[in-house]
């Protein structure tokens, strides 16, 4: 029993999350009024899992989708999704359009013509639905934040 208790710290993960998708911190962007800014949002999928791409193979599948809820002094927020891969899984007759491993979403903003100088944060929501070869998991929505500075 004592040995088991001593081993317990090793059983606790370093991070409390067991999320199948994690969003990294995008690089801070900076620019003047009316300038176009570009950034990339790093995303990582746990090995053995996939998420549907932004253009899934079937209507019933939930796509990866990034939408902006607050842009602050920025406008646009156009998202360019990477090219998905076609993977065959046990549960589907045809190959599915998915993302696996590490990839990035490219985002472009325009600094508003009336933007005040100073820092800010654009806030978005990334919705995804993950599966492995045998099961699927409840769709989730995670916050995405892009720090920016208007010069």
């Amino acid at each position: 029993m004592l040995a088991a208790l001593l081993c317990l710290p090793a059983l606790w993960p370093q991070s409390p999350t067991n999320e199948r998708l994690t969003v990294g911190q995008p690089q801070k962007v900076a620019g003047k009024r009316n300038e176009t800014l570009h950034t990339k949002i790093p995303i990582s999928i746990l090995p053995g899992y996939h998420v549907n791409s932004n253009t899934p193979s079937d209507d019933y599948l939930i796509p990866l989708s990034l939408t902006w809820s607050a842009l602050g002094s920025l406008e646009g927020g156009q998202v360019t999704y990477p090219k998905p891969t076609l993977e065959k899984y046990e549960f589907a007759e045809k190959a599915l359009s998915v993302y696996t491993g590490n990839f990035e979403l490219a985002v472009s903003f325009k600094v508003a013509a009336t933007a005040a100088a100073g820092p800010g944060v654009a806030v978005g929501k990334l919705r995804y639905q993950a599966c492995n070869n045998k099961a699927c998991f409840q769709p989730k929505t995670v916050d995405v934040t892009v720090p920016y500075s208007v010069q």
Partner: protein, 197 residues
């Protein structure tokens, strides 16, 4: 962390691990070898509504073998199993089997009703909720299927596509052959092990 708090946390984790390993080992067993009766736990009762708005209690099915399938319309693996379960319902309803689907779509009946029609589903489906999912161990992965014996006890748990159609057929036959009242012992009711892939 102070020593008493560490000890309490350690005990809690140990208990959780023991519970997890107990049900995990049983749950991963192939359906053809359902859990021995002495190891079965009471399936938590629930009250959920079907597509017609009628209340459904699991306890209504006491005396029947119940195949309880948590699924969602967006779940590819669920779509593999549903035709199996429709066939089981056709074959074995008269022998005492009830297939009951628990839909876990956030969009509710708006998403689920068209699917029921499209698939021509022949068994009852109720709309699930977080509370019921929690009672059944979280049901993070779909499909998650519970085979419940005539005594209302969980005889097998399948998470994802970890059993074949034949596994389900064999398990259902085994459970149907045991008459109601044959069970002698029961573990107390409680939430199922929270297992995720």
């Amino acid at each position: 962390m102070s020593a008493p708090r560490y000890f309490a946390a350690a005990l809690a984790v140990t208990a959780l691990l023991a519970f997890f390993l107990h049900d995990r080992s049983a749950g991963s067993a192939k359906a053809a070898s359902v859990k021995p009766e002495k190891d079965r736990r009471e399936a938590p009762d629930f009250t959920l509504k079907d597509a017609d708005g009628k209340k459904v209690h699991l306890s209504d099915y006491k005396g029947k073998v119940v195949l309880l399938d948590f699924w969602a319309t967006w779940c590819g693996p669920c779509r593999i199993e549903i035709p199996w379960f429709m066939e089981l319902e056709r074959q074995d309803k008269d022998k005492g089997l009830e297939v009951l689907g628990v839909a876990m779509d956030d969009e509710g009946w708006e998403a689920v009703k068209p699917f029921l029609a499209e698939m021509k589903m022949n068994y009852r489906v109720v709309m699930g909720n977080d509370e019921t999912a929690r009672e059944y161990g979280g049901v993070d992965a779909l499909p998650t299927t519970f085979l419940i014996d005539r005594e209302g006890k969980v005889a097998a748990i399948h998470i994802g596509l970890d059993a074949t159609r034949k596994d389900y057929e064999d398990a259902v036959q085994e459970l149907l052959q045991t008459p109601a009242g044959a069970g002698r012992t029961a573990l107390p009711a409680g939430p199922m092990a929270a297992v995720s892939h």
